[in-house]
Amino acid sequence: MALISAMYPVAEQVGASRIVKAVAIPHPCGDPNLPAELDGQLRREIVSTALKALEAKVDRTTVFTPKVGADG
């Protein structure tokens, strides 16, 4: 399982295995401040990063950062 969360430090503290950095608590998968097209791209990048996280071998809590950056 890959956990997509903006509160990733908490996810780390409770020991989730595969964590994907999300954008913000009220809108984890995307950023309403971006134009719709970029918002959609950001969302694909986040989900895509989660797929990579599923494919990664991890032996402890590991955080994966989407390329576009958690700040949009």
């Binding site: 969360s5 430090p9 608590i25 009220p26 998968c29 995307g30 694909r44 989900v47 494919e55 590991t62």
Partner: protein
């Protein structure tokens, strides 16, 4: 007179609710909001020299900036002790209280008192820190327990400021931090252990000297070899449900989960779905449900071949995660896992708020 700084979120500072959850760190001289109640309890013993507050989301999304700003204000205000909370069952605020207390303890060497309900997620972080300068007093679940919480926290803060030695958690009423101190006692460990054993055998109460920490340790699952060939499913704890909330999820403390079919859908249209959750501002997700359940992105990745045709589970799982009790969430997690396994799902994306 003891100098105290009170740390509040936007709600308890009286600034606003969810619509103000993004405000940055602010400082007011003297006591505002809940700090006024603290000042009443302190009476002549102490003075709230400043109230620092911030939005619940702001703190967690800009933790480094928020922490730096709070430290800077505290350095100017030079308090003898810091009070954070009570946070009751407010998860984001409870976590912020513990994080701030820990930073204050480490960076400024000050002792801190905070308060929250024993099930607040901040409590487990407090236990993990094992910080001997933080004292967390248990409170009621809701703000109706404010007066009682402040009545306990104010004198505790004064004792900390006075440099008083604080006894063990059980005797002083704060929640245990997992710290063991050396103390001199009259009887040897062997004698004490035998006493405990005899009490246990006789069915009488006894207090262990080494309580076991109960933590789930989950070994990371093996990776899926190729996501495009894997059966995938999505779980949403942000609370995106069909418009009208047909199964009657509550905005907090839910005890069941549901799954909703999206096999025929390419997107989740605004107005047909809504977010049910009492822990964050749901306006963004109501405007675009994909922020919590990214079906459009999943379909795009399906079109690209990154997700295999027919490999995406035809429904997503949901439970609004707000204020879930760990015991209930554990059961819900086990039930969903069993359902996923039954249907042969290999990998799961869990979108949390």
């Amino acid at each position: 007179m003891i100098r105290i700084v009170h740390i509040l979120n936007q709600f308890f500072a009286g600034v606003g609710g969810e619509e103000k959850a993004d405000i940055a760190v602010a400082i007011v001289g003297g006591a505002v909001g809940a700090a006024r109640g603290l000042q009443v309890q302190l009476a002549e013993r102490g003075e709230v020299v400043g109230t620092i507050y911030f939005g619940d989301n702001y703190f967690h999304e800009h933790k480094d900036d928020a922490t730096a700003a709070i430290l800077a204000e505290l350095e100017k205000l030079r308090p003898d002790v810091v009070v954070a909370g009570p946070a009751f069952n407010a998860g984001r605020y409870g976590l912020a209280c513990v994080e701030i207390c820990h930073t204050v303890s480490e960076r400024l060497g000050l002792r801190c008192v905070t308060g929250m309900e024993a099930e607040n997620p901040g409590v487990s972080v407090y236990r993990d820190y094992h910080d001997d300068k933080i004292f967390l007093l248990p409170t009621a679940e809701t703000a109706s327990g404010m007066a009682r919480a402040l009545t306990a926290m104010a004198p505790f803060a004064c004792r900390l400021a006075d440099g008083e030695e604080i006894g063990p958690a059980g005797a002083e009423g704060y929640l245990p931090r997992g710290i063991r101190r050396l103390v001199r006692v009259d009887r040897t460990g062997a004698d004490r252990a035998i006493d405990m054993l005899l009490a246990k055998v006789a069915g009488k109460p006894f207090a262990t000297e080494i309580p076991m920490e109960v933590w789930d340790r989950v070994e990371p699952a093996a990776p899926v070899a190729d996501a495009a060939a894997a059966n995938l499913a999505v779980i949403c704890t942000g609370g995106v449900v069909p418009w009208g909330n047909p199964d009657g999820f509550k905005t907090y403390r839910n005890t069941f989960w549901r799954k909703y079919n999206f096999a025929e859908l390419k997107t989740l249209e605004p107005g047909k779905w809504e977010a049910v959750h009492g822990g964050y501002n749901v306006a963004f997700m109501n405007q675009n449900p994909h922020y919590g359940m990214p079906l459009d992105a999943l379909r795009a990745l399906e079109a690209d071949g990154r997700i295999g045709r027919g490999k995406l589970y035809p429904a997503y799982y949901v439970i609004p995660g707000n204020q879930g009790s760990p015991a209930v969430m554990r059961r819900v997690g086990q039930e969903i896992s069993a359902d996923l396994k039954k249907d042969g799902v290999d990998g799961v994306l869990l979108v949390a708020t």
